[in-house]
């Protein structure tokens, strides 16, 4: 139990944002910038790793953001909502 909770402290969340053509045109840069700001604001830089990602073939309505293996397609305005729901509650 003790060990597991230590393990939990060390949990490292990987957030990758697609930088392919479609996502770029739909606003990847704004999503990246907002994620960087939120991670800094919440002092999560040692727990959340941000990275770039290539097209996974889910091009559509929004920018593809993958959090721990699950891909979300979001508008640049929806970053805060996604961050609060999928990142803040899990780290």
């Amino acid at each position: 139990m003790h060990l597991q909770s230590i393990g939990k402290e060390m949990i490292y969340m990987k957030v990758t944002i697609c930088v392919g053509s479609t996502c770029h045109l739909l606003g990847s840069k704004r999503v990246v910038d907002r994620f960087k700001e939120l991670v800094a604001e919440h002092n999560l830089s040692d727990k959340v790793e941000l990275g770039g990602k290539f097209c996974m073939g889910h091009c559509g309505e929004g920018v593809c953001v993958t959090i721990d293996g699950t891909t979300h397609s979001i508008a640049p305005e929806a970053v805060d909502e996604l961050f609060n729901k999928e990142v803040l509650t899990k780290v």
Binding site: V19, G20, S21, G51, F54
Partner: protein, 389 residues
């Protein structure tokens, strides 16, 4: 035929207060002969521009068609409109013809003497005068060597700084000294032209007293750049396309996310994407060991085209792509300057994402881009080949 090629470039500065340049530089090529014509129309502004444009186009077209100097001058004298003030039809000109990357023929009428640098030092050559249609034409012939640089100027260059920095203007001797001092074998024709024109502009205190043009031709070794863009129309063609791409010598550039993925698989190396935006409007470049440059495709290449238009317009002293770390600037630096032969490997797979109406991408955007870019590069004097898969 040797394995040299001719790199050419020019810069024209417009006389302060004018909208149009009264000098005109035209490059043309025909069947192993490279041609450069620099014409300087009488006066400045619209009238000079029309005279210089007519003169340079007529001379370039006729010279490329193999017509003699007499025929060219004859045509000019009979076709140019007369100046209503001065009652003469007049535009000075210099014609440079380089056959088989070796035999140089210079024909000059009232323009400053062309400067030739051989291994960075002034190379003196003889001129013989001849009267054609009452005009005194100077002609010269010599054999060029690798690294020879021919610098053709309008008189705005030699008069730069007149009455200010220099009593009689900059003069040819000083220009030779400047070129010798700043010469480096890896400077491209365009860079040499820009360097000299910038100095003239400085001597004019940023307000040129006359249209000033510098056109440069340089003999250099051929260099190849290869660019692959888009996955092939069917998976079965992957290995064919990649095999042919990686069999080439020269620089290798891979554009497109999926294209980079299949290249990574072929090479067995790891492809990574960073979030480092060197330019906020362009996706970051990728990293793929085994190729010289890996980037996104359509957005980046659209920007490369803007840079190509800027390069071809020839009136800017500084180029935005010369220092940028973004993918488009880096592609421009590889393709515009050192490369003489460019091979495109274009995969024809349809990208369903490009059909998204939210993206404002034109139908068949990739092919339009390749087509427009091949044309721009050909205008820069490059040999372009395109293979589709």
């Amino acid at each position: 035929m040797n394995d040299l090629c001719i790199d050419s470039g020019y810069i024209s500065l417009i006389k302060a207060g004018e909208q149009l340049c009264g000098d005109r530089v035209v490059f043309a090529a025909d069947d192993g002969t490279a041609i450069c014509v620099l014409a300087d129309g009488l006066g400045s502004g619209v009238k000079a521009n029309i005279l210089a444009t007519l003169t340079s186009q007529i001379l370039a077209t006729m010279s490329a068609g193999g017509m003699s100097v007499e025929e060219c001058v004859n045509t000019i004298v009979r076709t140019l409109p007369e100046c209503s003030v001065r009652k003469i039809a007049y535009s000075t000109f210099t014609i440079v013809k380089i056959r088989d990357q070796r035999y140089v023929e210079l024909t000059r009428f009232d323009n400053p003497h062309t400067v030739v640098l051989r291994d960075g030092r002034n190379f003196d050559f003889a001129y013989a005068p001849r009267m054609i249609e009452g005009k005194k034409i100077y002609e010269s012939k010599f054999e060029a060597q690798e690294n020879d640089v021919l610098v053709v100027m309008s008189d705005g260059a030699i008069y730069a700084g007149i009455g200010e920095e220099y009593a009689f203007g900059w003069e040819r001797e000083n220009i030779i000294r400047f070129l010798e001092a700043h010469y480096s074998p890896d400077l491209t024709a365009k860079q040499i032209a820009r360097m000299l024109a910038s100095e003239c502009n400085r001597l004019y205190h940023g307000r040129p007293g006359d249209d000033t043009s510098v056109a440069v031709m340089r003999l250099c070794r051929r260099r190849t750049a290869n660019m692959m863009i888009g996955p092939p129309s069917s998976r079965g063609l992957d290995n064919l396309m990649l095999g042919e791409f990686f069999a080439q010598t020269g620089t290798r550039i891979v554009c497109g996310g999926t294209t980079n993925k299949i290249a990574a698989r072929y090479l067995g190396s790891e492809l990574t994407a960073s979030l480092d935006y060197a330019d906020s409007d362009l996706p970051p470049i990728y990293n793929l060991p085994g190729v010289d440059l890996a980037t996104e495709a359509v957005v980046t290449i659209s920007r490369v085209l803007e840079y190509a238009d800027e390069y071809l317009s020839g009136t800017r002293l500084s180029a935005s792509w010369e220092k940028g770390r973004d993918g488009a600037s880096r592609i421009a630096r590889e393709l515009f300057d050192p490369a003489t032969d460019i091979n495109f490997f274009v995969g024809c797979a349809m990208n369903p994402a490009h059909q998204n109406p939210k993206l404002s991408l034109a139908f068949g955007v990739k092919f339009q881009l390749i087509d427009r870019r091949s044309k721009s590069l050909e205008q820069m004097g490059k040999r372009v080949s395109v293979r589709y898969y």
